[in-house]
């Protein structure tokens, strides 16, 4: 039975996801270096990892899901580098704590639904994504509960009064959500303040920053196990990234153990002394 995990997004909703495979991880890292297709790749990846139907997600949900994919499939922390009094400092952040704070704040601020309250209008609510500058309307819900996705061309028929109501609500939300500050307590006890700008472009950029890892190290590890142990993990399509990491950890541990054994047998080996002549 495959392992699944559940992520809580905004509005008290849940999404079930399967683990990231090694292949998914590799492609995700490649997408991280591509500004144009990153967001599109991320959305498709989440669709493919989701178990069952994926509910309507907004940009905050995209952030939550992306970071929790990292949490469950890659690592529960992310190390940020910054400068403190002119020196580079490393800060390891528990990303689940950060996600909890973002989710809670988003839930406080908005639920993405606007009750239209217009008598005899065919839709009673509209779901929006205030983070989407170009097209904030996601879908309408009719009074019979049917969901109608917003499509290009609908604006020709939507009454301007309804559009204005939606625009006002979005402006109100954005006014409230321009910048939020989240205090994250680090392992060291220090408190890191992250300023979280509530714009789509910022959030996508932050997602990329958090999930981006070193692709070179990945390829190096794949190369090492292939050449030294004749195992090509790329052929094992279903192996998850965390399983791969376990193998690498064991491989590295074994390599280190072998190296220590060699060093013990030949203590002068690292001094580059010429071999004694018999």
């Amino acid at each position: 039975m495959e392992y699944f995990y559940t992520v809580e997004i905004t509005g008290g909703r849940f999404v079930k996801l399967r683990e990231l495979s090694l292949e998914d991880y590799k492609n995700l890292q490649k997408a991280c270096v591509d500004d144009i297709s990153f967001e599109s790749y991320l959305s498709h990846m989440i669709q493919s990892l989701a178990v069952g139907a994926l509910p309507e997600i907004n940009t905050i949900d995209l952030f939550i899901i992306s970071i929790m994919i990292r949490y469950y499939s890659i690592s529960d922390t992310k190390t940020f580098y910054t400068y403190v009094t002119g020196k580079q400092a490393k800060m390891k952040v528990d990303i689940a704590t950060f996600v909890d704070k973002v989710r809670n704040r988003a839930n406080e601020m908005f639920n993405g639904y606007i009750e239209l309250g217009i008598e005899d209008f065919i839709a009673d609510t509209v779901v929006i994504d205030p983070m989407n500058d170009e097209n904030p309307i996601k879908h309408f819900r009719t009074d019979s509960g049917k969901i109608i996705e917003y499509e290009d061309g609908m604006e020709q028929y939507i009454p301007a009064s309804i559009q204005s109501k939606i625009s006002e609500k979005i402006k109100e939300i954005r006014r409230q959500m321009t910048v939020e500050f989240f205090d994250i307590t680090l392992e060291s006890g220090k408190v890191l303040t992250i300023d979280f700008r509530m714009t789509k472009s910022y959030i996508i950029s932050l997602i990329k920053q958090i999930i981006k890892d070193d692709l070179v190290t990945l390829y190096k590890n794949l190369y090492d196990v292939k050449t030294k142990m004749s195992i090509d993990f790329c052929e094992h399509k279903h192996i998850t990234f965390s399983e791969f990491e376990l193998y690498i950890t064991m491989f590295n541990s074994e390599q280190e153990s072998q190296q220590r054994e060699e060093d013990r047998k030949n203590p002068m080996s690292d001094m580059n002394l010429p071999q004694p002549k018999n």
Binding site: E149, E155, I158, P159
Partner: protein, 249 residues
Amino acid sequence: MSEDSKKFIESLKEYNKSHTKDIYIPSLMRSVKFYPMTAKHQKYLIESALDNPIFSAVFHQKVYDIIKEVCSEPEVVDMLNVFDKDAILIQLRYNFIDKTYDEKDMSSLIDEIKSNELTIKVDPDSVNEFEIEFKIPTIKEDAKIYSDFLKSKSYIVSPSSDDEVRQMLANMYIIELCKYISRISIAGRDASMDFKFHGIEECMEIVDHLGKDVAKAIEKFIKNLKDKNLFIYKLDEDTTVEINSELFS
């Protein structure tokens, strides 16, 4: 587009047809039913804010196109004149976008519009040897003039020097004179020009050569007309409703 979306759009069309509002037309002295403005109309008007602020040619064009789409009596649209325009736009905002302006209730303006009477008198005039027949431009003619001028070399979207601003203001003055001229004849000679058969650039060329006295006479006619028929809509001492694309944002 999905079947559900198509059905949704059909429902939206039905909703719009059944939710018309009465818009008072000063020149007709009666109300005409208008369909709701849509998000698309609002977007067009907001986009026209990027236009040259002195001419606002795109705004005038879009206004005509929108009125043509939302007026339930198409035959009436081509009869609407430029003095109806402001009244119609204010009522469109009030009925279909927002009943307030600058957070102030606009209902007093709606009453004011209904009580304002147009006093339109179009008598010909003679100046020196020129005979001028005047007209009140319709919103259709107004839109056509701006549309033609937009395509001309003289139109500058963003003037970048004082000279260009001066040139634009001069063009604006000439265009305004052209709008109100129906025909110009030279007395005693078989020479006349019916402005409706000529493009704006040709009309501007003619008006440029008419001389100061004729221009002054046309200017006087326009000023008299505007003094009596162009109303400034104020909500209070500090709040004048500006008739431009921001009225619909």
